[in-house]
């Protein structure tokens, strides 16, 4: 996968619904997700997400939402405009 698809998404995980099965962490192609000390999934490498959607479709508990960021919200993403310097 090429880098140009990265950084367009925000991976939101609801800890209250996550049962820590580990499917998302095991099969994410970019290793975006890890289980934390409490066994809950966390998106530790958000910037690597390629928006493949695997985790969201295969979380048995509907605990993950991969959202598209506003275009250009982050530096380095297409459409990014540096904030105008205040006058």
């Amino acid at each position: 996968m090429t880098d140009r698809h990265k950084g367009l998404t925000e991976v939101v995980i609801y800890p209250a619904w996550c049962k820590g099965c580990g499917i998302c962490a095991a099969f994410c192609p970019e290793k975006v997700i890890e289980l934390d000390a409490e066994g809950k999934a966390r998106a530790v490498r958000q910037e690597d997400c390629i928006n493949c959607g695997f985790c969201e479709l295969h979380c048995p508990d509907f605990a993950i939402s991969v959202r598209t960021k506003e275009p250009g919200a982050d530096p380095g993403t297409p459409g990014y405009k540096p904030p105008a310097k205040g006058k």
Binding site: C21, G22, C52, G53, P60, D61, A63, S65, V66
Partner: protein, 302 residues
């Protein structure tokens, strides 16, 4: 890819307790997601859909979805579903069963529903075990597998649900896995959309009752195995006997276009009612007498 989870939340009953009752890594949650996406993709309203479920872990799905739902008795989901479809053919009737539910307790209902070709989408969530009742051997437990009732390995041969449904006359027979949710979405969608009896076998891991007794360290191990085992039917057909071992073909196996029982019934009904005597037997607008209607219908020549 966004909005998948948000979409699912629109179809859940939020007065129920979440997270749902399924164990960590249970595939039933993924199957539930697929079902919702299939219904949404077909632009059906919640009121047009009836989910009829049997007993077992899979039966809990009916509790969580905001459609018309009936949580029936063990093995009998198809009988309730048949009645609903015959009475209201416009409804999309989806029947959710487990492997024990569909193939042991309700085995007869399954083959006869397929033979009649009644317009139902039957989803059999096959986890190879009786999960809810303590992990006993089911009709799809693989030979040699350890379960609560086969501690030294199952001696019986499992049913091949696809072969069974094909032989019994189902209109559409498919197999998918919860590891391939996109494919599963498509298979379930076809099953709901098509006429007649359409069956999808859904392979869905149960780590708690099956995996732990069969050397799967965790749910992820079972998904790895499923990923390895599932191959498209087209590729599987070219495999040698040796290559087929421990592989499971997935995809669409049967696509017939026979009209469903409820359609054949309506055609017969219309033909009968078109005859003069049958027309006389139509209920009177104000208060008809069932006994006289029956007597009049008996006079209709066949």
């Amino acid at each position: 890819m966004s909005d998948v989870t948000q979409l699912i939340h629109q179809y859940l009953r939020h007065n129920k307790k979440f997270p749902h009752v399924f164990c960590p890594g249970c595939g039933h949650g993924i199957a539930l997601g697929s079902l919702i996406r299939a219904v949404h993709g077909l632009s059906l309203s919640k009121d047009e859909v009836v989910v009829v479920a049997g007993i077992g872990c899979s039966g809990r799905i009916a509790v969580y979805v905001d459609f018309n739902t009936v949580h029936t008795t063990h093995g009998r989901a198809l009988t309730f579903a048949t009645g609903i479809k015959m009475a209201s053919p416009k409804l999309k009737v989806i029947c959710i069963m487990g492997d024990g539910d569909a193939l042991a307790i309700g085995g007869n209902h399954l083959i006869h529903a397929a033979r009649r070709n009644i317009g139902i989408a039957a989803l059999v969530l096959n986890n190879n075990i009786y999960g809810m009742t303590g992990g006993q051997t089911s009709p799809t437990t693989p030979g040699g597998a350890r379960t609560a009732t086969s501690p030294y390995g199952a001696l019986e041969k499992p049913f091949d649900l696809v072969d069974l449904a094909r032989a019994a006359g189902a209109n559409y027979v498919a197999r998918g896995t919860v590891f391939q949710a996109h494919l599963l979405d498509r298979l379930i969608s076809s099953a709901i959309e098509r006429p007649g009896f359409n069956l999808v076998e859904v392979l869905t891991p149960c780590h708690t009752q099956y995996g732990r007794k069969n050397k799967f360290k965790n749910p992820v191990d079972m998904y790895q195995a499923l990923k390895h085992a599932a191959v498209p039917r087209e590729a599987w057909e070219h495999f040698s006997e040796a290559e087929r071992k421990e592989r499971i073909p997935v995809g669409v196996f049967v696509e017939r276009d026979e009209p469903g029982l409820e359609e054949r019934y309506r055609v017969m009904q219309a033909a009968l009612l078109a005859r003069p005597k049958a027309r006389e037997a139509l209920p009177e607008p104000n208060g008809h007498d069932p006994a006289s209607t029956k007597a009049k219908l008996e006079g209709v020549e066949s």
